[in-house]
Amino acid sequence: MKIFAIALNTFREAVRDKVLYSLLFFALGLIAVSVALNQLTIGQQAKIVTDLGLASISIFGTLIAIFVGIGLVSKEIERRTILTIVSKPVSRGSFLLGKYLGLIVTLAVEVGIMGACFLGMVAAYADGVAGPAAVAIGLIFLELCVITAVALLFSSFSTPFLSGLFTVAVWVIGHLTPDLREFGERAGGAARAITEALYLVLPNLGHFNVKAQVVHHLPIEPALVAQVTAYGLVYVALVLGLATLIFDRRDFT
C-alpha cells in the first residue's frame, strides 16, 4: 500500500506536469504520415506505417523514460520532499520501487495510447501484421522498463545531468552490444576485456527489437519472446536491487 501510494503520487506528478501532452506530438506525426502515405503505393505503405510507427513509439517512450526517470529521485532530493518521506515508516527500497512503478504506469498509459492509435493505422494500411505489431509494442514497453530502471539507478547517486548522460550512453551502447563484443574480439588485448565486460554488464537492448520481423512478415518465436521477457524482468530486478543498496547508504543533507 505504501509503495502504491508513492507510485500513485509519481503518476499524478507526471500527469499534472503534462508529460502525457507528448502524445499530441505523436498524434500529429501520425496524421502527417498518413497524409504522406496516400502518395505511395500499397506495399510501401504497409512497410512504412509499421516501421515508422514502432520507431516513434520506441523513441517517445525512451525520451519519457530517460527524462522523467533521471528526475524521479533527484528531484525529491533537490526539493527536500524526500526528508518527509524517508522519515516515515517507508523503507528506502519501497520508496524507490514506488517511484519506479509510478513512472512505469505513466509509460504504460503513454505506450498504450500510442499503441492503440498505431494498431488502428496498421489495420487500415498494413493488413495481417496487427498481432506481431502488438508483440513488438509489448517488447518495446519491456525495453522501457529496463531503461527506466537504469535511469533510476543513476539518479539514486548522481545529478540529473550526469544521470541523463549515463542513461543515454547505456541506451546507445545497449543497442550495440553484439557489435561491441565483435569489435573487442577483433581488437584483442585490453580492449577485448573491456568490451566483454560491457557486453556482460550492460543490457542487450537489441533483444527487445523485433521491428524487422514485423515489417518483413517473419515469424516471432513465442519461446524467444518468453526468454526476452524473463531477461528483461531479471535485469530490472537486479538494477533496482543495486539502486536500493546504494540508496540505503545515502545521506540526505
Binding site: M1, A5, T81, L83, T84, V90, D251, F252
Partner: protein, 316 residues
Amino acid sequence: MSSALSIEHLVKDFRHPMTLRPLRVVDDLSLEIRAGETFGFLGPNGAGKTTTIKLVNGLLRPTAGRIAIFGREARDVAVRARVGYLPEQPWFYDYLRADEFLDFYARLFGIARAERRARVKRLLERVGLAERARDPLRRFSKGMTQRLGVAQALINDPELVILDEPMSGLDPIGRRDVRDIILALKREGRTVFFSSHLIPDVEMICDRVGFLVGGRLRDQADLHERLAARETESEVRVAGISAPVYRQAAALAARTVASGKEFLFEVPADGSVEKLIDLVRADGGRIISITPRRESLEALFLREVRGGKPEEKESP
C-alpha cells in the same frame, strides 16, 4: 519517566566533496529526552541542530554513537510510525492539493481510508487551513506551507514530534499559531523536540533546553529551575504615594527612580516586595506593575555561545 529519545556519544562527520577532508558537524553529543517533555534545542546557525535532527530521523547515518527512540533503533520502520517530523523550510509537492497532500502522507502510514479522511479534515482545521483544503500547494504562502508541514508531522498521531525551526520565516501571527499548536501538543502529553534560534518562543514553551554550539552540547538545563534560580530582584512601579511612605519604601529598595508622580523601586526578592506592596496600599497608592527581573534565556544563550564569557546583553 521513560525515555522518548536517547542520544549517546553521537558523532557526524561530513567529507568535503573535493578534498575529502572530514568536517565534524556533531561532536560527541549525548542527550536524553523524557516522554512527555517539551525540549528546546537551541544554538546559533550552523551549530549542527539540523544535522542532529536529521540523524534522529534516520536521514543521515551517524559516524559514531547511538540514537534510540522509545528504546529502539532510529531507522527502525516500526519506530518511525510513532514519530512526526517537520523539516526546516519544508517544500512540498506543489502539484497536489492540501487534502491530497495530507492523504498521501496518511497512506504512508497505512491508515485506512475512512480514518484518513477524518484525520485530514481534523488536521486542516487544527492548522487553520480548512478553507484551503482544495487549493493546490503552489498557491500556498510560506506561512501556509509551514502550517501544512506541521499538519503532515501530526498525521500519524505521533508520540514524539520533532520540529526543525518550526517558527522561522513566519510572521508574528504565524509564530503565535505554531506556538499554540506546540502548547496543545504538550497538553496532550506528547513529547516535543524542537530547534529554534528564536529565544522568546522557546522560553515560553519548553520544560528544558539544550544549547548546541559548534556541534557540541554545551549545557542541558531545566529551564524554569535555571531561570527561577537567577530571579534576583523585582521592579515595582507605583504612583500616588506620600513623601513619608516614599522614604520608607526607598529604604527597602536597592535602587529608586522617580519620574513625575510615578516611582520605580528595584527590590530584592526576599519578601521586601510584599512589604512594599503593603506600604503602598495602606497609603492609598496605586501599584502599576511588578516585574520579576531574572536572567533571561537570551542572556543564558549568549553566555553559552560565547563559551562562558559573561558579557553584556546584545541582540543575537
